[in-house]
């Protein structure tokens, strides 16, 4: 008996260790997160104020803001229950005006939060954790994550504010811009409204608080939420959201979007009026020697670009799409040789860089991804330099009137913005915005391809139909229309790598046997055909005929009579 015990003490203990280790390692081994993404809330606020003063004794508090506002509403209480009022504005901090000593802050939180909870509980109402249950607020790994969507003020929303009767102008000025827009007056050391200087908040209010310029987050909450609250208190029936979910929640944003659409629907021919930032209708993009500053390089003499500012406003939702830093002209930051302010991106790059959507070409390039364009444009390689004709479509020669007899624009010709705008208008007026194409009867109706006659009947391609379909795709698309206005441009989608012509060269001229080591990147005839057709169908998501359905393009070969 004793011996037996002796025998099995060691292996016994070994097995126990084994079991434990296996279990522990298993537990350690699994890494999948405890939180499922859908359990995210927009109103989750992580309170770690004390972190600013050093290491936290307990994990930060996860606090659900909307949950509390709901209760307040039910209880007929208002925001002042938690937020003090200072200079007739609610402070966004909890129960205090200025951040004080940590002990004090701690005390403020504990007494007020827990105090309120206790009161509620005493009143026999459902309430938050009482005293002593530290961990239920200071929760190290909360089951819920933050799901806060960014909120953007777009054109229509801006218009809704501008046009709202509930947001009257502070001054005699009939426009109510002064209600939100302001600038900082260095002399007076206060924020004032200056007409014509309205700009996007983000230009001054940055990600983080800078000196006493509020962070964008703080600023927008103070401006928007508090204003919405006032209106709410004034019993105005149509007010903006003031709960977290209203702007940052999925449902809230959906609601806003819906309302936006309703407003647009009511507008005359559904057009949102332009912003009143006295921006030009037309702009002439040239290099202004003055702006080149001290090291004023002789600007390249290049046809300027007439730019339809008004039209582009229509196509884009906010000024930031192009004016990403501020509303000045591009050249102020993107000088000819680049400046620090402009991330040393040269003027040329700022207009032509394809990798970004903030340059002209970049943005226009993105438009080519549209189904009706992708058929041809997904084929075209993205590093090729466009031909001169294409360049000239933007870099148009100046009208004689402006050149005052000289052959070209020169750096000593300095026009005022007003003049520029006028010139641009003249230049843009006569433009042909319709896609050009040869007379329908000149477009071959069918293209018969006999390349595979040994296996199939000749393939008949509905050439004209295809062209007209592509053309239809460009209907009422000004961008496409303008850049395909040349006759034959559209043809080059398939008849590529040769100058546009009514009778382009035959495919066989360039595409012959495959795998020619001298032209490694040039497909053979069959691959060229299939590549064009199938590639285009794939890009335009045209399901039929399927790429593998040979006989839908190549009819089954007829049996020769014996």
């Amino acid at each position: 008996m004793k011996r037996g015990r002796l025998l099995f003490r060691w292996p016994g203990s070994l097995l126990v260790c084994a079991a434990i280790s296996i279990i522990c390692i298993k537990a350690y081994g699994k890494k999948e997160p405890l939180i499922t993404p859908e359990s995210g809330r927009p109103d989750l606020v992580t309170i770690d104020t004390l972190a600013a003063f050093g290491k936290l004794e307990l994990p930060p508090v996860t606090f659900f803001h909307d949950k509390h506002t709901e209760v307040l509403l039910k209880e007929k209480k208002d925001c002042k229950t938690c937020h003090l009022v200072e200079e007739d504005k609610l402070s966004l901090t909890f129960k205090r005006s200025k951040a004080t000593r940590p002990a004090e802050i701690k005390q403020i939180y504990h007494s007020n939060c827990i105090g309120c909870h206790m009161e509620m509980a005493a009143a026999g109402k459902k309430s938050g954790p009482p005293d002593g249950m530290c961990r239920s607020c200071h929760n190290a790994e909360p089951k819920v994550t933050v799901a806060r969507l960014d909120f953007e003020v777009n054109k229509i929303l801006h218009y809704r504010h501008v046009s709202s009767k509930n947001i009257p102008s502070k001054t005699t000025d009939k426009d109510n811009c002064n209600r939100c827009h302001h600038v900082y007056d260095k002399e007076a050391k206060k924020i004032v409204y200056v007409k014509g200087k309205e700009a996007t908040c983000g230009y001054c209010h940055l990600e983080k608080q800078k000196d006493d310029v509020k962070s964008l987050r703080l600023a927008s909450h103070v401006e928007c939420v508090l204003c919405h609250l006032d209106l709410a208190n004034k019993e105005v029936k149509e007010i903006g959201p003031y709960v977290c979910g209203g702007c940052h929640g999925k449902d809230g944003q959906a609601l806003v979007a819906k309302k936006n659409q309703e407003v647009v629907a009511k507008l005359p021919n559904k057009e949102i009026p332009r912003l009143k930032a006295d921006q030009p209708d037309f702009a002439l993009i040239t290099l202004d020697p003055k702006l080149e500053g001290a090291k004023a390089v002789k600007p390249v003499v290049m046809n300027p670009v007439a730019f339809d500012h008004k039209a582009h406003e229509k196509y884009n939702d906010s000024c930031q799409v192009c004016h990403h830093k501020n509303l000045d002209s591009c050249q102020t930051c993107h000088s000819l040789l680049g400046k620090k302010e402009g991330g040393s991106v040269r003027f040329e790059a700022a207009m032509h860089l394809r990798a970004t959507n903030q340059s002209c070409l970049g943005c226009h390039g993105e438009k080519q991804a549209a189904l009706s364009c992708a058929g041809c444009h997904s084929h075209m390689d993205k590093i090729r330099r466009p031909d001169d004709a294409t360049c000239r479509q933007c870099h148009m020669p100046l009208p004689k009137t402006v050149l005052q007899g000289r052959g070209e624009i020169r750096d000593d010709v300095v026009l005022t913005p007003k003049q520029k705008s006028g010139v641009a208008e003249v230049m843009l007026k006569g433009r042909n915005m319709k896609p050009g194409v040869y007379a329908v009867e000149d477009i071959p109706e069918k293209a018969v391809i006999r390349a595979l006659v040994d296996q199939y009947e000749p393939a008949e391609m509905p050439h004209r139909k295809i062209v007209l379909t592509l053309l239809k795709g460009m209907k009422d698309n000004q961008l496409a229309g303008y850049f395909h206005s040349e006759q034959g441009t559209i043809c080059q989608g398939c008849h590529h790598n040769s100058p546009a012509a009514k009778k382009p060269p035959r495919c066989e001229n360039c595409h012959g046997k495959p795998f020619d080591p001298r032209q490694p990147n040039r497909p053979g005839l069959q691959a060229a055909f299939h590549g064009e057709c199938m590639g285009c169908h794939k890009a335009m998501k045209i399901p039929k005929p399927a790429a593998t359905a040979c006989t839908e393009c190549h009819k089954e070969k007829k049996k020769e009579p014996a």
């Binding site: 011996r3 002796l6 025998l7 060691w10 292996p11 070994l14 097995l15 260790c17 084994a18 280790s21 296996i22 390692i25 298993k26 537990a27 350690y28 081994g29 699994k30």
Partner: protein
């Protein structure tokens, strides 16, 4: 071979023989199938799983468990542990049979068995680990055969021939050890080429070392295990030297096995550390790995140690069995379980009953031949004609080898 079996079977009708007979018959039948219908007819092998239990068990385990041959002879002749002498012959015989059976099994598994000598005589592929394995097994089989012939010759009564061979014992033993070291380790090295297929916990650049070290443990344990069996069934065949020395052998080998297992355990842990595979231990495969490592390496190691301390023969035997199982498990894991671990379950391999039957058949053949030889030739006893060597001053029957070795090197 089977003819012999049938012969044996006819003579005496014990239950063992009957069962053996049946197995042999089935085996013969499947053999026929194999060579008419092809591997597809009898195995579950596929293009994803080219190696089944005929390699995993018959080859890998067969070779590992036949390691008793070189360990024992090395212990006795090289390390001069004379008292183990009586264990040498049984060990050599089992080793010889073991390897012959491995080769026999290969005839089933390989596509064109008659070409097995090609690597040595037609077109060697020296870049292959398998070539190295093949060559060593080939040579070692011959070595074992020579080492075994004395028993046979004594039985037949060819004194001269017997002595000539006995003279070469030391040389043969050393050669044997060298070959064994090489191919035991190379069997592990076979899988070095497939890091993408073998589970990281089992794959390691140390694989050859693992296989070699574990083979020693396997060999020692196998000798103990066989000793037990033969004790039970061949007792009448044993002379007092064997019986007297048997327990010494058992204890000595148990001690050795315990040490080797400890070493093996450490090496395995080092292996994990070197490749930093700790997090894999958290997975299902990890649990399986731990089972192998703790349940079939650490545990027998400890049991051995205790059994030796308490001079407990029964426990030693059980530890031996556990160790042997452990080695088998390890070889299975490397070759079958942890191999192709990334394949979907549907594509994984599981042996067909016929594959298993053939494996059993081959083992049975082994048993029968062993019994046939052991019951006729001087394996567990020393041949009267050569007894006098055994009575030389001092120590057991190894004197002739010692002297002869002397001659062997003398001139």
């Amino acid at each position: 071979m089977s003819t012999e079996q049938t012969a044996v079977k006819k003579t005496l009708l014990t239950p063992f023989n009957v069962v053996a007979g049946i197995i042999v018959l089935i085996g013969v039948a499947i053999t026929f199938l194999r060579f008419t219908k092809g591997l597809a007819g009898v195995t579950n092998l596929s293009d994803n799983n080219p190696w089944g239990i005929w390699i995993g068990f018959d080859l890998l385990c067969g070779v590992a468990l036949a390691a008793g041959g070189y360990t024992t002879s090395a212990a006795c002749y090289v390390f001069g542990l004379k008292r183990y002498h009586s264990a040498v012959r049984p060990a050599i015989l089992t080793a010889f049979l073991g390897y012959s059976l491995v080769v026999l099994a290969l005839h089933y598994d390989v596509g064109r068995p008659w070409r097995l000598p090609y690597p040595f005589f037609v077109q060697p592929g020296p870049t292959s680990v398998l070539f190295e394995v093949g060559l060593c097994v080939f040579l070692y089989l011959i070595t074992l055969f020579i080492e075994w012939t004395p028993a046979c010759l004594e039985w037949l009564g060819y004194k001269k021939a017997r002595n000539i061979i006995v003279n070469m014992t030391l040389a043969l033993t050393i050669f044997g050890v060298v070959l064994s070291t090489m191919h035991q380790s190379s069997l592990g090295a076979l899988f070095l080429i497939a890091p993408s297929k073998l589970h990281p916990l089992w794959y390691s650049t140390y694989l050859p070392l693992f296989f070699f070290v574990s083979s020693i443990a396997a060999g020692l344990s196998m000798v103990i295990f066989e000793g037990t069996l033969s004790h039970r069934y061949m007792h009448h065949k044993m002379d007092e030297t064997y019986l007297a020395e048997h327990d010494h052998v058992t204890f000595g080998f148990a001690k050795g096995a315990a040490l080797v297992l400890a070493c093996y355990f450490c090496l395995k842990v080092v292996g994990i550390t070197m490749d930093n595979n700790w997090d894999y231990l958290g997975t299902g495969f990890g649990a399986w790995f731990l089972l192998e490592l703790l349940g079939f390496v650490a545990l027998p190691c400890l049991l051995y140690a205790m059994a030796v301390r308490e001079r407990n023969l029964r426990l030693i035997r059980w530890s031996a069995v556990l160790t042997v199982l452990g080695i088998v498990l390890n070889r299975f894991n490397v070759c079958l379980v942890a191999f192709n671990w990334q394949l979907p379950r549907a594509d994984r391999y599981f042996p067909s009953w016929m594959e298993i039957a053939i494996s059993i058949f081959i083992v049975t053949v082994g048993l029968l031949v062993f019994r046939f030889i052991a019951s006729r030739m001087p394996i567990f006893y020393e041949h009267p004609a050569h007894k006098e060597h055994g009575l030389e001053p001092g120590h057991g029957g190894q004197a002739p080898e010692v002297k002869s070795a002397g001659h062997g090197f003398g001139h």
